[in-house]
Symmetry: C2
Subunit: 338 residues, 2 copies
DNA sequence: TCCGCACAAGATAGCGCTATCCTTAACTCT
DNA sequence: AGAGTTAAGGATAGCGCTATCTTGTGCGGA
């Protein structure tokens, strides 16, 4: 008996479960993994033995023996962006329900760090990966291709590729914001951006293109490589007011910049939206409570996480996805600030 | 050669490194783990062989063979609270630098879910744990004691216990806020709380006790079991104004409640701090930018994470901590709102 | 010179599972 | 009835490492 216990933790092992159920270890293993060739009565007996012993499989042994784990690597650019947290929580819920464990990594928007993470996490022999965007380094892309593991990219749509992705068109979102501001009679535009990842730039491009097509002057740009934050929004707004006092509409690449600008505008006595209209992005918690309530683009990050996780599970089940790039859209939330 | 490759990933194994370095696998293993009995020349040769092959150890095999991993379980109440994200990022930095990998879990402030996580994560045979607070279930506490793994509790200080902890006195923080508000001439107090974990209640208790000792009326309490959020702050502030229009100072258990209340006050035309003073908690990003700038208690969460991780590493190195409960204080940040 | 000792390096075994055969028994079909 | 077929369950081996024991080597002291 004691011999069958895990030497370090004292936890019961599969051998002990098998003994109690009166079957061989391999049958117990199969029963617990729902391998269909096992007699239902035996499955019951094994399951019950496992329950009564409080048996939990040893993931290290499982991974080593099967050369495959129940782990799904999830990589997000940063933990400090609430956007990705919500996406991750949705992923986690879907995966856990099917007995998979997410392994979370983040890389501060640094593609080289992302590559390093991929290299490290592949040694954990995950069964699949969920990645944010398509801006991996060439070396990372090679690693991903070579390992042959199923993966789904999130937030951005893969164009001209068979690689599964779930997201929305960042470009179209920028366009929608432009139309909205134009329709409200705005004429002199600015784009305030931080953390210049691909998606921010796609938004910017869509915004600028729409302005151009509408015959407007291109938007003034204030771009910062720093992470977007409320404090940065304050700074950028002050700079903008100093250099371009006649701007009458701002599109912020993220709501926290808009929050900061909103605070600064109040302090400076600049009336929003009378003198200047604000449109944020992501519709983060608080956007609807801000004074004035902030117009923003609601991004379906929880839905993206959920769908991406489900797609990955489908791939693991051997299904094929009819449509690799799945666009689940976005929603403009017009509020007081514009 | 091919025989020594990992069957699933095609990655080189320790056997291949050993062969290239001209030593036995076990010597290679020892060299890479810096076991001191290996000849420095051999260590060099092995290290170089490993580098040239791009060798990375297989964590599953390592864990299985040694019954111990390089994994540290880190449990936080929720991902959606920026406080814990900052703490985790600091932990991660310290652990990674020493070759340890954090395994992050969160439990939505649910002690039973925390217990389940502990049970699951122990099967990963971590080498230690970092936990938030001291409000584990009795069963979880038993699990933790039985497994005998080193652990450090964060954010709260363990009283009358030898279990290592790093944090500050939540109670004293509440007291400090009370003194501050009293010193500013405030007389009618409210405490708005959400997500009623132990630490929130300790803050409340410290606040109320100080008021009592100063001969003040006890603070009116608005407590919600829901997670704290900007939207909830709005609601609670409206309710408070409706039921107790003469309150002249509010202590919020978290800054986001104060943010919401601040927005709502602006909308309702209630002047802050003239008619009512606000004090938040945690000094989250944006507190210093809010209009009016928010008085808050700066909690050293990054420092807590850093120190806790370092203490755990010290325990793993076999050191003993002279002082189990380490108080690293807090700082009241008086600003415009009070 | 020989013995014993310290210590570096290797041989061996096994961690707790699962992949892959292999056995056995029940059944079908001619 | 006998060969062939199918399927359930077990025996065996091995995943890639490391704990532990064993061996070999060099050295000092009697």
């Amino acid at each position: 008996m004691a011999k069958t216990r895990n030497r370090a933790t004292g936890l019961p092992t599969l051998a002990e479960v098998a003994e109690r159920a009166g079957v061989s270890p391999i049958t117990a293993s199969r029963a617990l993994r729902s391998v269909p060739t096992v007699d239902p009565d035996l499955v019951d007996r094994v399951r019950q033995a496992a329950r009564s012993l409080g048996y939990v499989p040893n993931p290290a042994a499982r991974t080593l023996a099967s050369a495959r784990s129940r782990t799904v690597v999830v990589l997000i650019p940063a933990l400090s962006n609430h956007l990705f947290i919500e996406m991750f929580e949705a992923i986690e819920t879907v995966l856990r329900a099917r007995g998979f464990e997410p392994l979370l990594g983040h890389y501060q928007y640094d593609a080289l760090e992302e590559e390093r993470l991929i290299r490290t996490f592949l040694t954990y022999q995950p069964c699949g990966l969920l990645l944010t965007g398509f801006d991996q380094t060439p070396a990372a892309t090679r690693l991903l291709t070579d390992c042959g593991l199923p993966r789904v990219h999130m937030m951005e749509l893969g164009e001209e590729t068979e690689i599964p992705s779930v997201g929305f068109s960042q470009d179209e979102a920028g366009t929608a914001v432009a139309w909205h501001l134009i329709s409200r009679g705005r004429r002199r535009f600015a784009f305030l951006g931080a953390q210049l990842d691909r998606r921010v730039l796609q938004r910017r491009d869509g915004f600028q293109r729409a302005l151009l097509e509408a015959g407007m002057q291109p938007a003034v740009e204030f771009l910062s490589p720093d992470p977007s934050s409320i404090a940065l929004g304050c700074q950028q707004f002050r700079s903008l007011r100093r250099d371009y006092p006649d701007i009458d509409a701002i599109f912020f690449c993220n709501d926290d910049l808009a929050f900061g600008a909103s605070f600064e505008a109040a302090r400076m006595g600049v009336p929003v939206p009378r003198q200047i209209a604000f449109v944020g992005f992501n519709d983060l918690p608080g956007a609807n409570e801000l004074v004035p309530r902030l117009t923003s683009v609601r991004t379906p990050r929880a839905e993206i996480g959920r769908v991406a996780a489900r797609r990955l599970l489908a791939l693991l089940d051997g299904e094929t996805l009819s449509q690799p790039a799945l666009d689940i859209g976005f929603e403009l939330m017009p509020r007081q600030s514009s």
